[in-house]
């Protein structure tokens, strides 16, 4: 499954060029906000810059869209633009949107309506936008895509499951192209929930190489989309060759040049990552750039795809390395053939996305 184009939007800006720039620049401190429930502490988050969501030319058709849909639509739009593909209706395109929490800020806005105005006086617009597949619907309208459209919502490997389905659609020739991506947003309620359910990094630094049993997170938000195809002319960023949803390492598997460890404090015990690095490979981890997200895998894959395209090994943005694994410490040109993106969920379950040049 070839990667023909990528679109990203996160705290570091919009577009794959912005993301590449962030990889070059390295770590930046998050914003520190105050929560009503934690009056004595500041709470770190990596929110989207509101300016990233301003694009009248693209979003003119979706003026009523909520923030979640705008975020996803811009990333999807940018993935198609990045590919250089003309949307002429000649090819069948599908859409798969993966999310952990969906447009929850809109759901809460709808609950505000119920509480403030009563059950019979709620906003139909807020309701229709609280439905999880709204973003996919906007993407379909924006790009005039009439192929299959699926939205998935879960906490364990949502992006991986979406990629697996995209691969199946391409293999059974249901589509020529699949626009597959993820989106998750932050917001005051989610920040409060994160403050209660996660250990938060008070200094604002996610530590991917501490391999801690009690890791710390810095909540982020954003969206990333990939335009995937089986066509050979769509290999701009190389190939996403396999999604392995297994906790067992296959000793016969191809040896990667780099293992991206997706440790970001979201899913509990991260001690398993210590043994996930394939001997002889570099270790990397880019979650400190964009924040902790259950759908953060998309951004890690975007980093991998950029490295394969540019043949650059990006330095890890946070390099505290008490376990002394062989991490990428400087950004430099390198011959890179294969990268594995490795994620654990709840300490036990492991999934790997493999990318090749």
């Amino acid at each position: 499954m070839n990667i023909a184009g990528i679109g990203t939007i996160c705290t570091r800006g919009r577009g794959i060029e912005s993301f590449a720039h962030a990889l070059q620049q390295g770590w930046k401190a998050p914003q520190f906000i105050s929560l009503q429930s934690l009056p004595d502490k500041s709470f770190p988050v990596y929110p989207l810059n509101q300016e990233s969501l301003m694009d009248k030319a693209v979003l003119g058709k979706m003026r009523r869209a909520d923030r979640f849909s705008r975020m996803a639509a811009l990333a999807a739009w940018d993935a198609v633009q990045d590919s250089g593909m003309a949307l002429d209706g000649e090819h069948t395109m599908g859409i798969i949107v993966a999310s952990a929490f969906g447009p929850h800020t809109t759901t809460f806005r709808f609950l505000d309506d119920i509480l403030d105005y009563g059950e019979a006086n709620v906003s139909p617009t807020a309701f229709s936008h609280s439905v999880h597949n709204t973003a996919a619907s906007y993407i379909a309208s924006l790009l005039d895509i009439r192929g299959p459209t699926i939205t998935v919502s879960q906490f364990a490997f949502p992006f991986h499951q979406a990629i697996l389905l995209a691969q199946a659609w391409l293999d059974e020739k249901r589509c020529d192209y699949v626009l597959v991506g993820s989106a998750d947003e932050s917001g005051r309620v989610m920040e409060y929930i994160c403050s209660q359910k996660l250990r938060i990094a008070d200094d604002g630094q996610i530590q991917p190489f501490h391999f801690s049993a009690a890791p710390k997170a810095v909540p982020g938000e954003g969206s990333v989309f990939f335009l995937m195809t089986s066509r050979e002319d769509g290999r701009k960023y190389g190939e996403l060759s396999e999604v392995a949803l297994s906790s067992h390492r296959n000793e016969e598997e191809d040896k990667p040049d780099i293992c991206i460890l997706e440790a970001d404090g979201m899913a509990g015990d991260e001690t398993g990552y210590r043994d996930a690095v394939v001997p002889g490979a570099f270790a990397a981890g880019y979650s400190p750039l964009f924040g902790s997200m259950l759908t953060g895998s998309g951004f890690q894959c975007a980093a991998a795809a950029l490295m394969l395209k540019e043949q650059i090994r990006y330095a890890c943005p946070v390099q505290d390395n008490p376990g002394r694994v062989n991490i990428c410490t400087v950004t430099e040109t390198a011959e890179i053939h294969s990268i594995h993106c490795i994620r654990y969920h709840c300490g036990q379950k492991k999934a790997v996305i493999k990318l090749r040049r």
Partner: protein, 404 residues
């Protein structure tokens, strides 16, 4: 290409706690609707609530998951499978709408008022993700996917399981949908002006909107060779799946039904059949003015005005993410039973709809049954099932012998 069969059915809705009770409800034309009893509300719309969830599947504060697990357990039992699936390559694909939203009103009220709220509602939400929870409960270790495609979620979950089987991603899949009756969609659909104050009347000239319902419908889909190797006779074949977007509007179907037509034709192509092979269509048939007009027009255009069509929403209400799963199960059951129930609620033909649904219990030939789903967001889905005992073309499925 592997052929996919249905080997087990699980259903729970206002029409019945299992398939036999549901078929009895269908045969008698009963409508178990009433006012909302599950939560306090001032809204007076009639709804279709599930009265009794078996206690072993009752999960406090997780009604959608309770309904889903009940249907999954039934389907596994029907398929002759154990409750522990760890020795098999099993995928779980379940659709929902409500269970994917953190929409607990009391949690949110507390947060609004004080900036703090107890985490119980959050914990239930995190534990209640349908596919993950069902996979965990029944120890299914293949792919697990929760589909949130609004009202086509359950049907799409079944379609995705077909893709998984074709690609060898799993050998057996638990697929369908579940949803509970909940405050948010009740208020939301009300705000859209598409909920009826009376019992719904799909395709009727005087239809005035939908009734909300709740339930779960789950199928066991497996590769035919695996099913036969374990000594189980298939209930039906899952012959085709089509899915297409309108790219038109968030809440209204494309006025010409372009997406629906594309989905149905795609499903027929994947099943390698023509409209003449289709015995009946189990329509989405919500009883909203727009849906039924568009859907009826498209089905008449594809299958002709005399096609046997029904909507079962008059028995279950619109069960949202469960609807596609329940109606797929009812379609398979109809192929097995050789009859479809009356499209309850229909009395007067609408001159703007060039077909009329069946008004009485009607025998069908045991050929192919189509189940359609239309969703918010402009998604359209069609599933095609064929009766077990059909002879099969080398490329796909052959027109069934009439075994009725």
């Amino acid at each position: 290409m592997k052929k996919a069969v249905v080997s087990g059915i699980g259903v729970i809705s206002a029409a019945g706690k299992d398939l036999p009770e549901t078929l009895d409800t269908f045969a008698q034309g009963k409508r178990n609707a009433g006012p909302v009893s599950l939560f306090p509300t001032l809204l007076t719309y009639p709804v279709f609530e599930v009265r009794d969830i078996p206690p072993q599947w009752h999960k406090e504060g997780m009604r959608t998951l309770s309904l889903a697990l009940c249907a999954v357990a039934q389907a596994l039992g029907d398929a002759g499978l154990p409750d522990d699936l760890s020795s098999l390559k099993v995928g779980v694909c379940l659709g929902t709408t409500v269970a994917s939203q953190l929409n607990d009103l009391e949690f949110y009220r507390s947060f609004r008022n004080s900036g703090q709220a107890p985490m119980g509602a959050v914990d239930r939400f995190l534990r209640g993700n349908l596919a993950q929870a069902a996979a965990h409960t029944f120890k299914a270790e293949g792919p697990a996917l929760t589909v949130v495609n609004a009202c086509s979620s359950g049907a799409d979950a079944i379609g995705i399981s077909l893709s998984w089987l074709k690609q060898g991603i799993c050998d057996l899949a638990i697929a369908g949908g579940a949803d509970e009756l909940n405050h948010v969609p009740l208020c939301g659909f009300g705000s859209l002006g598409i909920v009826s104050e009376s019992l719904c009347a799909p395709f009727d000239r005087n239809r005035s909107g939908l009734n909300l319902g709740e339930g779960a419908g789950v199928l066991i889909i497996e590769a035919e060779d695996i099913c036969r190797q374990r000594g189980k006779a298939p209930l039906a074949y899952l012959a085709g799946y089509g899915i297409a977007a309108d790219a038109y509007h968030l809440t209204a179907p494309h006025p010409e039904g372009k997406g629906l037509e594309a989905a149905v034709r795609q499903a027929m192509a994947s099943a390698n059949i023509t409209p003449d092979d289709v015995s009946f269509v189990n329509a989405h048939g919500t009883a909203t003015p727009d849906n039924d007009k568009v859907e009826g027009t498209v089905l008449a255009r594809i299958f002709g005005p005399d096609v046997k069509v029904l909507s079962t929403k008059g028995y279950t209400g619109h069960t949202l993410g469960a609807a596609g799963g329940l109606e797929a199960a009812f379609t398979v059951a109809a192929l097995r039973e050789g009859w479809i129930p009356a499209s309850i609620g229909f009395v007067h033909q609408d001159t703007e709809i060039p077909l009329a649904p069946v008004a009485v219990k009607t025998p069908i030939e045991k050929g192919y049954g189509v189940s359609t789903s239309l969703a918010f967001g402009g998604n359209n889905t069609a599933l095609i099932f064929s009766a077990a005992g059909c002879s099969v073309r080398s490329s796909s499925f052959r027109k069934c012998r009439d075994t009725a």
